[in-house]
């Protein structure tokens, strides 16, 4: 295969990636878009392999190992992606992102170890150094994000005094070492130290970030991996790597900003404010002590629902965990038959990833027009008889509006507290993902129905039928 043909096929692949991303950003073509990109990937990979084969660049052992590697990776990737439960999607994305970052760093390590013996110009060594640092951070950071979401370690922020200063110093040390490596030295020791420091920074940078903010962090690390891949493209003079890596780096950066915007927060606040720490001191914890909550019975709540005119359901992560999407639809259908108007209010960051609730309710065939976005429905709560909050907490916490000291202050929330009655389906009084107490739980118009969301909803269905 001539270089010309290889480049032409890379161009086709790049065009398919762009087209795929375009389709991915509209609901209609999204699924097709994913496969458009996959076809582009296949073309780029086949072109590369055939080209290397024709150039007789393959060594025997090397190509056998590459084949085995592809087989192992394909099995791990497919099984992992097929087996994962819907609730565990975000950490799976983190894992797949991390291994990509790791691969980019390894490619750079290999190349750097070759040019170290010669006297590389800064233009030659800079991409390697960049790829090692950014790929290393992405790998280590993604693994911590995975561990937090998978609950292999605590999901709450891990903080200590002077944390950001220490992280800043590690970052400075990385920059100094990088400059040293690029400008002056080809010491193998300095370059191992660089890799270690990058891994340390990846871990240290994600530790203070709480579970609720993890999707934003994963998106940022996704952009990091993209940039590391682009840098590897500069090392290998490879058009496909540069273009695909940069596309992901740029779109990932924008997506990160859009995600934090959807939470009403700045990216700096997400990354450095350690939101979700257990709140210490008089301002936080004291508020909840000594207040009483009203626990209700399914029968009474069912009767109340059946004789309402308007009911709004607010789904959250608890609905996903309990896999209660089908039961909640059954309840809604039943109420509609009794003449109650039912809508679902979808907060943009309900669940553990944006769009989580839409995906879940779509699975249960909930009619699309019943799913209302926050801005669309927020004024309707005033005229709503009962709001049924199913496993959501932070996205309806009035502290976001009322307490300037609260970590979630400023986040747009659903105005559930405007409704006449609020019913919380919750397993316990435990605070939500952000770790903040919710005063609405103690409000006189609030009734708690404790238990697993699915069981509680099943009881409500029976109660509404009987009413």
């Amino acid at each position: 295969m001539s270089t010309l043909l290889l480049q032409a096929l890379y161009l086709v692949a790049a065009a398919l990636f762009i087209l795929g991303m375009k389709q991915l950003s509209s609901p209609k073509g999204a699924r097709r878009g994913n496969w458009t990109s996959a076809v582009g990937m296949l073309i780029a990979l086949l072109a590369t392999v055939v080209n290397l084969g024709l150039l007789r660049r393959f060594t025997f052992t090397g190509s056998v190992l590459a084949l085995v590697g592809v087989a192992v990776g394909s099995i791990v990737g497919t099984v992992g992606a097929r087996r994962v439960r819907m609730t565990a999607m975000p950490q799976m994305v983190a894992l797949f992102n991390g291994v990509g970052g790791g691969a980019a760093a390894l490619v750079a390590v290999y190349e750097l170890s070759y040019i170290l013996g010669t006297h590389p110009s800064p233009a030659e060594s800079f991409p390697s150094v960049f790829s090692i640092v950014v790929g290393g951070i992405s790998f280590a950071g993604s693994m911590i994000a995975f561990a937090k979401l998978q609950e292999l370690m605590t999901g709450t922020p891990i903080t200590y005094p002077g944390q950001q200063v220490v992280n800043g110093l590690v970052a400075l040390a990385i920059v100094a070492l990088a400059v040293y490596l690029i400008g002056f030295s080809n010491l193998a020791l300095a370059f191992s130290a660089l890799l270690v420091l990058a891994l340390v920074l990846g871990v240290a940078f994600v530790l203070p970030i709480g579970g609720a903010d993890m999707p934003v962090v994963i998106s940022l690390l996704n952009a990091f991996t993209g940039l590391a891949v682009a840098a590897s493209g500069f090392i290998l003079d490879n058009f496909a790597l540069i273009v695909a890596g940069t596309l992901v780096g740029a779109s990932g950066t924008l997506l990160t900003l859009l995600m934090s915007q959807a939470m009403g927060r700045s990216i700096a606040n997400v990354l450095f404010a350690a939101v979700g720490s257990p709140v210490a001191g008089p301002a936080g914890a004291a508020g909840a002590e000594g207040k009483s909550v009203r626990a209700g019975q399914a029968d009474d709540i069912g009767t109340m629902l059946a004789y309402s005119r308007r009911v709004i359901i607010v789904p959250g992560y608890g609905l996903a965990v309990a896999q209660a999407q089908h039961v909640v639809r059954e309840l809604a259908d039943l109420l509609e038959k009794k003449g109650v108007a039912v809508d679902y209010a979808i907060h943009p960051v309900a669940g553990r990833m944006p769009g989580h609730m839409n995906v879940l309710l779509a699975e249960a065939n909930v009619p699309y027009e019943q799913l209302k976005e926050m801005d669309e429905i927020n004024d309707d709560f005033k005229s709503t008889d009962v709001v049924l909050v199913v496993g959501a907490n932070d996205v309806v916490n009035p502290a976001a509006r009322n307490s300037p000291g609260s970590p979630i202050y400023g986040m747009p929330i659903l105005n559930v507290d405007d409704a006449h009655n609020v019913v919380f389906l919750k397993r316990s009084m435990r605070p939500g993902f952000a770790g903040i107490d919710n005063e609405l739980l103690y409000d006189p118009k609030t009734i708690m129905l404790f238990g697993d969301a699915k069981e509680s909803l099943t009881k409500l269905v029976a109660a509404v039928k009987a009413a």
């Binding site: 795929g20 990109s37 052992t61 590697g69 992992g80 994962v84 894992l95 291994v99 682009a230 779509a362």
Partner: protein
């Protein structure tokens, strides 16, 4: 700076603009699938991993190449499959 390097930098700069432009109007519900889909695309590092693994000729090269290929393939295959699973769920709401 050589002409070759400048050409590479040109690809890089143009790709930044395309990357930003192409997703600028994405609705919130597609944030996660889009993140996951682009995550699969940076699995293109498999091209680089195959180049170094396939042409490796010493133990260090074998090791680095093999591990890089496994990681990159996991990224590509897992990335596309997991994105498809997310988007599969959107099917149900055809009207």
């Amino acid at each position: 700076m050589t002409t070759e390097l400048l050409t590479l930098v040109t690809y890089f700069v143009l790709a930044i603009f395309v990357g930003i432009e192409v997703i600028s109007k994405v609705p919130t519900i597609l944030h996660t699938p889009l993140m996951s889909g682009t995550n699969a695309i940076h699995g293109i590092i498999l091209v680089g991993a195959l180049i170094i693994a396939g042409s490796a000729h010493d133990p260090v090269g074998y090791l680095l190449g093999f591990v890089a290929v496994v990681l990159a393939t996991t990224n590509v295959v897992g990335g596309f499959v997991v994105t498809d699973r997310m988007l599969e769920m959107f099917r149900g709401r055809r009207q």
